[in-house]
């Protein structure tokens, strides 16, 4: 860029107008990450954990959820729409990011970069995951997905690896997102509060990562990793 256009950008470009919708969109982006998407992530882990009790338990859970009232409306309006908005707007705003890595290696800057990387990884993973499970069930198979379907999928090593990377990305993105959500909305303000919340969010990340991998393992092995240890 030439310096003249840079000068223009610096003088005329900073148009702070209250009529702008970017504040609303940003806040909506922040909110949808927690409700409904973060909430659904926790619910999704909870329901899928039934796989630890074997194929029958999992299939039973799937049937139970499939018979929920207003399921179609909830799925499309409360899940797919926020998901598309959160990911498309997220990628749109990530374009403006110019990460500074070399000189600033403190954990918040690393977390900032990871948040964006995990978001993009999560976008592709979730797209693949939703199409190959839910859309497959709705539009191709015409029946609900079963434990065996998932076990077959996950028995392919690269699919299993993809799921692990995907689940870890989603979990990190959600946990660190809890932290930045709290600052964006001003729930936490002080330095001490921000640091404590960072610890809490990373603890949540660790727990959810273990649970996520444990659930995945339940589909592939006879017994989930944790239940083998009696947990």
């Amino acid at each position: 860029m030439t310096a003249t256009s840079a000068a223009e950008a610096s003088s005329g470009g900073c148009a702070l107008s209250s009529a702008d919708k970017s504040f609303l969109l940003r806040r909506l982006h922040s909110l949808t990450g927690i409700v409904p998407l973060g909430g659904f992530l926790l619910f999704h882990f909870f329901e899928n954990a039934s796989a630890r009790r074997g194929p029958e338990a999992f299939n039973e859970t799937v049937e139970k959820i499939a018979s929920m009232p207003y399921l179609m409306v909830a799925e499309w309006a409360l899940l797919l729409l926020p998901l598309i908005f959160h990911s498309v707007y997220g990628i749109y705003i990530t374009r403006a990011s110019r990460p500074v890595v070399a000189q600033y290696t403190h954990c918040r800057n690393i977390a900032y970069i990871l948040q964006r990387v995990s978001g993009i990884v999560a976008f592709f993973y979730i797209a693949y995951h939703v199409v190959s499970t839910r859309f497959w069930a709705l539009f191709v198979a015409g029946r609900e997905i079963t434990f065996q379907d998932m076990a077959t999928k996950l028995s392919v090593p690269w699919v299993f690896a993809l799921y692990i990377v995907g689940v870890l990305s989603v979990v990190y993105h959600f946990s660190n997102g809890l932290w930045s959500f709290s600052i964006t909305w001003g729930l936490v303000r002080s330095d001490v509060g921000q640091k404590r919340l960072a610890c809490v969010s990373m603890a949540i990340c660790a727990v959810l990562s273990v649970v996520g991998i444990d659930i995945l393992s339940a589909f592939v092995f006879k017994q989930s990793i944790l239940s083998a240890f009696g947990i």
Binding site: A9, L16, D20, A96, R98, N109, R189
Partner: protein, 271 residues
């Protein structure tokens, strides 16, 4: 204000630097990223300055002005840079020293790895060499009304009494010298976008927490709730790590975020 201007005749050597060079023979090696005008392409030039104890980057640049000859012996144009107070109060001499944005006056040569690399901050338009145009920050300060409105056609009387604890808290925020380091290190702030950055957001917090300044708090919040406002913060928190005045910028951003939340809610329900 540029202290080294083209065409200014500089003495080839001061007697002081000659004697100290004679003492040790040590040299300070410095690489400078130069740019002849705002539209020119940048290039690197390397210099050597006789060692003297206690040099900082600015005194080094002053020394270089006396005899601007690069290491190949070619006469160079004196290096243009901004400086003012020379004691880390005015913020004018912000530049990138060995990859880190900071003030030249507090960058002590004895603590720097050599060759010392000096670059202009690349988040601002380069005027010449190390001097950059930081007016974007001042424009943003005007937009958020970063002042206390005390002028009237009649005597407004004394201001309200203030809690000393709050005054102390505000004092730290008020030490901002608009140096631009927080913006230089910010991954969300770029030369071609319109994010206001930590510097302006901190001033919004400062004046919104002032008992008289808070009369304009809604206007300030509306300004930073627009395009390029506080929402563009990505919480990388490089700003607070790099701030030479140790201002808790991350707290200021969270605080203005909270005020924006309340303001948005009030506007939504019509309060």
């Amino acid at each position: 204000m540029s202290h080294a201007e083209e065409g200014k005749s500089a003495p080839s050597h001061s007697s002081h630097s000659e004697t100290s060079a004679g003492h040790s023979g040590r040299k300070i090696r410095v690489r400078v990223k130069r740019q002849d005008n705002p539209n020119a392409l940048p290039y690197w030039q390397e210099f050597e300055v006789p060692y003297q104890p206690g040099h900082n980057v600015l005194s080094l640049l002053m020394e270089l002005r006396k005899n601007p000859v690069d290491i190949s012996g070619k006469r160079a144009c004196p290096i243009v840079y901004d400086s003012g107070c020379l004691e880390s109060v005015c913020g004018a001499c912000s530049m990138v020293v060995n990859g880190k944005a900071r003030q030249g006056c507090t960058a002590l040569v004895d603590q720097l790895e050599q060759p010392i690399t000096l670059e202009p901050m690349n988040k601002f338009p380069v005027v010449r060499d190390l001097a950059v145009d930081r007016s974007r920050m001042f424009e943003n300060l005007k937009r958020v009304k970063a002042w206390v409105e005390i002028d009237g056609s009649h005597d407004l009387g004394p201001g309200p009494r203030q809690n000393p604890a709050e005054v102390r808290e505000r004092y730290v925020m008020s030490t901002c010298m608009t140096c631009g380091v927080c913006l230089q290190v910010c991954p969300q702030f770029a030369i071609d976008n319109n994010f206001v950055g930590a510097q302006t957001i901190n001033q919004v917090r400062l004046f919104n927490s002032h008992p008289t300044g808070e009369y304009q708090s809604d206007e300030r919040l509306d300004a930073v709730m627009g395009n390029g406002g506080v929402e563009d913060c990505g919480n990388a928190q490089n700003c607070v790590k790099a701030c030479p005045k140790s201002i808790p910028l991350h707290e200021s951003i969270a605080s203005v975020g909270r005020q924006a939340t309340v303001r948005a809610f009030k506007k939504f329900v019509g309060l």
